[in-house]
């Protein structure tokens, strides 16, 4: 479903964030992306979202080379992907409810659908009480959970989560992981960049380890420990 082919990403300032990445991620897979700070995890994810363009190489999404997709078509790709951003990216002038509803509005969901589904996902991430708060009235973990709610509200075919538990206590993190697992079981491909050693170790899923922009490990039932 997602294929990285000789992907190289060098930023304008000369930083080579990704160096010849080759990956194949199948439909319905659950993939952890691990690696030290600055290894290139977020860059990998940003490529899928077309937030950054690869310097060279090809990137297939549903058999289509998305490096060649026209600007106008980019939103169509993004709507198929639910993303939990490392820096949350909530709209500051919208409430929690509106932030989640916004993701549904842009795909043209009816007011009825929105009114039904948004409260459901908010309760799934434990934020029913915060529906009418603005992002600057939330704690770090709450913001992160709004970002998760927004990512899953449209039942995306791919769920990308960049450090979705970085600001959560182990209990809440566990709940969120259960939620993501559940979504994965329904057939959604999940790509999750994380530093949570215990989560990765306990889940026994595919682990892709990056180091200095290169894939250094790709285990089907891996653990976090990257000093192999």
């Amino acid at each position: 479903m997602i294929i990285f082919k000789n992907i190289i990403k060098e930023y304008n300032n000369g930083v080579k964030a990704l160096n010849n990445i080759n990956l194949h991620i199948g439909k319905g897979e659950f993939v952890f992306v691990v690696g030290s700070s600055g290894a290139g995890k977020s860059t990998l994810i940003k490529l899928l979202l077309k937030e950054v363009e690869p310097t060279s190489g090809k990137l297939f999404f549903n058999k289509k080379d998305i490096t060649k997709v026209k600007n106008r078509k980019v939103p169509i790709i993004r709507r198929k992907i639910g993303v939990v951003f490392q820096d949350f990216r909530l709209l500051p002038n919208k409430t929690v409810y509106e932030n989640v509803a916004f993701a549904k509005e842009i795909i043209g969901a009816s007011a009825k659908e929105i009114r039904r589904q948004v409260p459901i996902v908010l309760s799934m991430v434990g934020l029913s009480k915060k529906a009418s708060s603005y992002p600057n009235q939330l704690s770090g973990g709450e913001k992160q959970r709004v970002s998760i709610a927004r990512a899953i509200v449209n039942n995306p075919t791919v769920l990308i989560a960049d450090e979705p538990t970085g600001n959560l206590d182990p209990d809440t993190a566990g709940d969120i992981m259960d939620l993501i697992m559940q979504i994965n079981r329904r057939g959604t491909t999940v790509i999750m960049a994380t530093h949570a050693k215990d989560i990765v170790d306990s889940m026994q899923r595919r682990v892709i380890a990056l180091s200095k922009g290169k894939v250094v490990r790709d285990d089907q039932r891996g653990v976090y420990d990257h000093e192999v």
């Binding site: 979202l49 106008r72 939103p75 993004r78 990216r89 709209l91 500051p92 842009i106």
Partner: protein, 300 residues
């Protein structure tokens, strides 16, 4: 409810909400729109009035006086009158007899008119006073008159006429240029304000794009905000300019500067024009400004 309509509805709502939630910036934008248009309005009115004054002044000089030869017959006089009436731009032709001319002269001299009583005989010739539709026909009419026989002298305010035509051309062209420049400046100020306002919300726009919103979807609420800001700003400007003008008009009238106000264009004549110009600029720039300013932020 179709999807398109649903999206439009949500955009309009977002536009209003956006304006309200960024109300400080909205106020500042409205203020700038109003200010820029007020200046434009003031100058517009000033120029319209100057134009009016020159037009009214011109009217006072749009006559040609022709003096007939002493030995001319009554038939010849009639021929001349008929001939003149056919010239382009001639409004009326009025005959002045020798006696009428003397009377007028006596009046004009006022206290010194007794000097005229010392004259042996009436020295003033018969004449025609030709009223023109517009001063611009003067030269043509005069050159035609020169071809007629029986005319002794042609008198008209040649110098003054030429000067007034020149001045009014200068004023006309000058005002067009000034208004043009002012419109450009107003547009510039307004679109600058929008540019800054949009730039301040760059992050918001980026986030929307990353979540999968289309350019059109993001633009929508901003355009509606632009329309709202433009409408409010220009409506305020119209009201302020109109109120101020009427106020000045009234004050001058009350202080008995009627000779000033008689030269002023009444506010009703201006009002509609100003409304149209302002609304076009205010709303047009609101829309265009939003679209253009958004462009660079939508490329993500």
């Amino acid at each position: 409810m179709t999807m398109k309509f649903r999206i439009l509805k949500s955009m309009i709502k977002q536009g209003f909400v956006g304006m309200w939630r960024n109300r400080m910036m909205s106020l500042a934008s409205i203020g700038s729109v109003t200010s820029a248009l007020m200046i434009l309005g003031m100058v517009l009115i000033l120029i319209l009035n100057i134009n009016n004054v020159t037009n009214m002044t011109k009217e006072q000089f749009d006559e040609i006086h022709i003096y007939l030869k002493e030995d001319i017959t009554d038939e010849q006089i009639d021929t001349i009158e008929n001939e003149i009436q056919n010239y382009e731009g001639v409004l009326s032709v009025v005959f002045q007899s020798k006696e009428q001319a003397l009377e007028i002269m006596k009046k004009r001299w006022g206290e010194e008119s007794d000097l005229l009583n010392g004259l042996e005989e009436n020295p003033f010739p018969r004449s025609y006073i030709i009223q023109l539709e517009d001063i611009k026909y003067a030269d043509n009419v005069v050159s035609n008159l020169e071809g007629l026989s029986g005319i002794d002298k042609i008198k008209y305010f040649k110098d003054i006429v030429k000067r007034i035509i020149s001045v009014s051309n200068v004023i006309k062209n000058g005002s067009l240029i000034v208004i043009g420049i002012l419109m450009l400046i107003s547009i510039f100020i307004i679109s600058n304000t929008i540019k800054i306002t949009v730039a301040a919300r760059k992050k918001e726009i980026n986030i929307m794009k990353y979540v999968g919103a289309t350019n059109g979807y993001i633009r929508g609420p901003f355009i509606i905000e632009g329309i709202l800001l433009g409408t409010i700003g220009s409506a305020l400007a119209v009201i302020l300019v109109d109120v101020a003008y009427q106020y000045i008009y009234k004050i001058l009238n009350n202080r008995l500067y009627v000779f000033v106000t008689s030269y002023m264009v009444p506010s009703d004549d201006i009002f509609i024009d100003v409304v149209i110009i302002f609304m076009t600029i205010g709303i047009g720039i609101g829309i265009l400004g939003s679209i253009i300013s958004l462009r660079r932020f939508l490329r993500v």
